[in-house]
């Protein structure tokens, strides 16, 4: 009897230790309602995307990132003003730099575009690393939504995604196998275009936005939990 109890107690201790260790490793979460109360209060519908602030070494990162943004934000239930057009308009007015536009009052954007909120984009990383036996493509960014009516920040989130483009020798043995792997990695890394990487990063970052009016859960997802401080995500 005693031995059995002892064994059971030991088992329970080990089990709960594992469970606790598992829990401790979980990232801290917060509910959308707690994180973004102002967005739930203001309920913006029409979003105007501003040209990205580019802190990366890739000069064309701005243009290429913008092709990926409309879809995830629209799927969350927002009306996103057509980015190709609004971007051209900003260029035509000679204000391609968001840094300059920050000085313009939100009410001007409301008047000219009917925008309820501005979407700020800060591109932090947009690079390819190739080191013969491996390679990766990394995109990191920060997004923020600011009200045109009140100038308050309604939502902000950032994320980083690393796509591993390394190719392992796998079945192929010896030098020949290694050479094949090196070439494959080079091709994979060079050919890696940013769209799928940006898509995956957007999925992570934009899923934290409270649902907009075109989604069923509009104003009803306050309990949805998001990760408070997202760590870089790796995939391949």
């Amino acid at each position: 009897m005693n031995k059995k109890r002892l064994a059971l107690a030991a088992l329970l201790t080990v089990f709960s230790a594992l469970l606790f260790a598992g829990c401790a490793a979980q990232p801290e979460t917060i509910s959308k309602g707690e994180a973004f109360p102002l967005l739930y209060e203001e309920k913006p519908g029409v979003i105007l995307v501003l040209p990205p602030i580019n802190e990366t070494t890739a000069a064309d990162a701005k243009d290429f990132y913008l092709v990926t943004l409309a879809r995830p934000l629209s799927l969350m239930g927002y009306y996103v003003l057509p980015i190709e057009i609004t971007n051209e308009m900003f260029k035509a007015y000679g204000v391609y730099d968001t840094e300059t536009m920050i000085k313009t009052r939100g009410s001007d954007f409301k008047k000219l575009f009917g925008a309820d909120a501005l979407l700020f984009i800060r591109l932090m990383k947009w690079d390819t690393a190739y080191y013969i036996i491996g390679g990766h493509v990394t995109v990191a960014l920060e997004l923020a939504m600011v009200s045109t009516a009140t100038g308050r920040e309604l939502w902000r989130y950032q994320g980083e995604f690393l796509l591993d483009t390394s190719e392992s020798p796998g079945q192929n043995s010896g030098v020949a196998g290694l050479i094949l792997a090196i070439v494959a990695t080079a091709v994979k890394t060079a050919a890696a275009d940013y769209v799928p990487v940006a898509d995956r990063l957007n999925a992570i970052v934009i899923s934290t936005v409270p649902m907009g009016k075109y989604q069923e859960k509009h104003q009803q997802d306050k309990d949805a939990r998001i990760i408070k401080k997202p760590a870089p995500v790796t995939g391949n």
Partner: protein, 118 residues
């Protein structure tokens, strides 16, 4: 509850995989053709993207879904670039019809197009 952000992320990701869940909009290959156009702007890449926009509109109708925000307007923009002003204006009106909140924006673009012959 912790599953919700992952589920939402999955919804957004899953559109590219078979057996996808029912998303609010159909985007087909939108980013791909637009990316190709921006990388190498030409009549060919522009026509390819316009064809893709038409496809999005057609598939949306087939599936009884609204055309995604901005698609009608973007179609108008590229039609304008192709010199098809009349069709472009009609497409702009479809944007306003589908999304009344775009009225301020659409009216401004309309005036610019009529005036500047975009």
């Amino acid at each position: 509850m912790r599953l919700v952000p992952f589920f939402a992320a999955f919804l957004l990701l899953a559109a590219c995989s078979p057996g996808k869940p029912n998303l609010l909009y159909e985007y087909e290959n939108y980013a791909r053709t637009l990316y190709s156009y921006k990388k190498a702007p030409s009549d060919a890449t522009r026509e390819a993207h316009l064809a893709e926009l038409d496809r999005i509109i057609a598939v949306s109708a087939e599936k009884g879904k609204r055309v995604p925000p901005g698609i009608w307007a973007e179609r108008a923009y590229f039609l304008g670039k192709a010199g098809k002003g009349e069709e472009a204006l009609k497409s702009l009106d479809k944007e306003k019809e589908t999304y009344p909140e775009s009225a301020v924006f659409v009216d401004n673009v309309r005036n610019e197009m009529k005036g500047g012959g975009k």
